[in-house]
Symmetry: C2
Subunit: 218 residues, 2 copies
């Protein structure tokens, strides 16, 4: 089990699931490969699924992530997170307010918040969020409703505005992942770059190598 | 605050909100009128709303229901129920499993389960549900995905199959509400019959009169 203090290391790479991106493989197969490649944070995202379907998939991912000592975060649905014993929940603008979740759940549950401005980042920190997802940094096709690409400058501004670990998201490849960590982020979150990779384990390892603080310091 | 033992009385009438049925009045206005008419159970149902929107509306309904000593139940979204401090959650086939919710939440939280068969009713009772919503009894336009009308016989079969309080739902008017209670139900749940009523307080009072066990015994 990853302690809350250690989340920055786990956040070097968040692999977000996506039901539209299985390329003939099941989500659990791709997640298993990502964990084999070293991923320590998986986010269950399934906007089109029912809660019942999310619980069924989430239970499998919980077993895999516990086996690998990895975090499991659930996008949006705190109730699904509680039902499957996930480590946390990731909240966006349309989801539950961070403060309401912080008051309603056990202290150990991690809360991530999407933030595309310093204001949202500061409010999330004040309300009890544990980390921030910041983006979209580059253009992305995974999330059609994401806003215009903000560039790496957004990482720098939000890192300066809060003390929370920051995760860059949106169209990130291993090369740009290194730039994002150099800009002060704890890591990156990806969907297609791992879920649709020819070899998800190799893709995961590439991202982890690119976001290794020790390697970047050399 | 209504004690869990007393829910059968509160369940004489559940008024379910519906965003498509305001007739120019806000949902909070109609709920306030229903509470004034004597309703003791309100269910927040807002399938098309975001979690954020449900929390905003739910907080207003929580204030109104606490003021009236009424239960507030949230349809589907346990996370919203927890965030607003609701009394319970109502779960259907696509929602979280009853057992998973029972294990994940404080013992006092009420769990309702939609049931259109004895099997589902028995499983819900075994898994820790507190009451059953049974229907559709009559044809309904409020819930287009509801199955074919089952008739009052379904109430009798499910009342015989479990010890849980049963609430009939689906196209119910005050006249048929009395028949449903005579068949063994604790009460009825309605959407349009109160939300779209010319005078929601009067409509509520009519249902409560029709489902009064003392009056029916006479």
């Amino acid at each position: 089990m990853i302690e809350r203090d250690d989340i920055s290391d786990a956040l070097r790479l968040t692999v977000i699931t996506d039901p539209d991106c299985g390329a003939g493989r099941s989500i659990t197969e791709v997640v298993a490969a990502a964990l084999e490649g070293g991923a320590r944070c998986i986010q269950l995202r399934a906007k089109e699924s029912t809660a019942r379907e999310m619980v069924a998939l989430g239970r499998k991912l919980r077993e895999l992530t516990l086996g690998a000592g990895a975090l499991l975060i659930v996008n949006d649905r705190l109730d699904v997170a509680l039902a499957i014993g996930a480590d946390g929940v990731h909240l966006g603008d349309d989801d539950l307010p961070v403060g309401a979740v912080r008051r309603a759940v056990p202290p150990g549950l991690l809360i991530g918040r999407s933030a595309d401005s310093e204001d949202i980042a500061r409010t999330a920190e004040r309300d009890g969020a544990d980390y921030l997802g910041v983006g979209p940094i580059f253009p992305t096709t995974s999330k059609p409703d994401a806003g215009a690409a903000a560039g790496i400058g957004l990482i720098e501004r939000i890192v300066a505005a809060t003390r929370l670990p920051v995760v860059g998201i949106g169209g990130i490849e291993p090369e740009s992942a290194a730039d994002i960590v150099r800009a002060g982020a704890a890591g990156v979150a990806v969907i297609r770059a791992v879920m649709c990779a020819g070899d998800p384990a190799v893709a995961t390892a590439d991202f982890l190598a690119a976001t290794d603080p020790a390697a970047l310091a050399r």
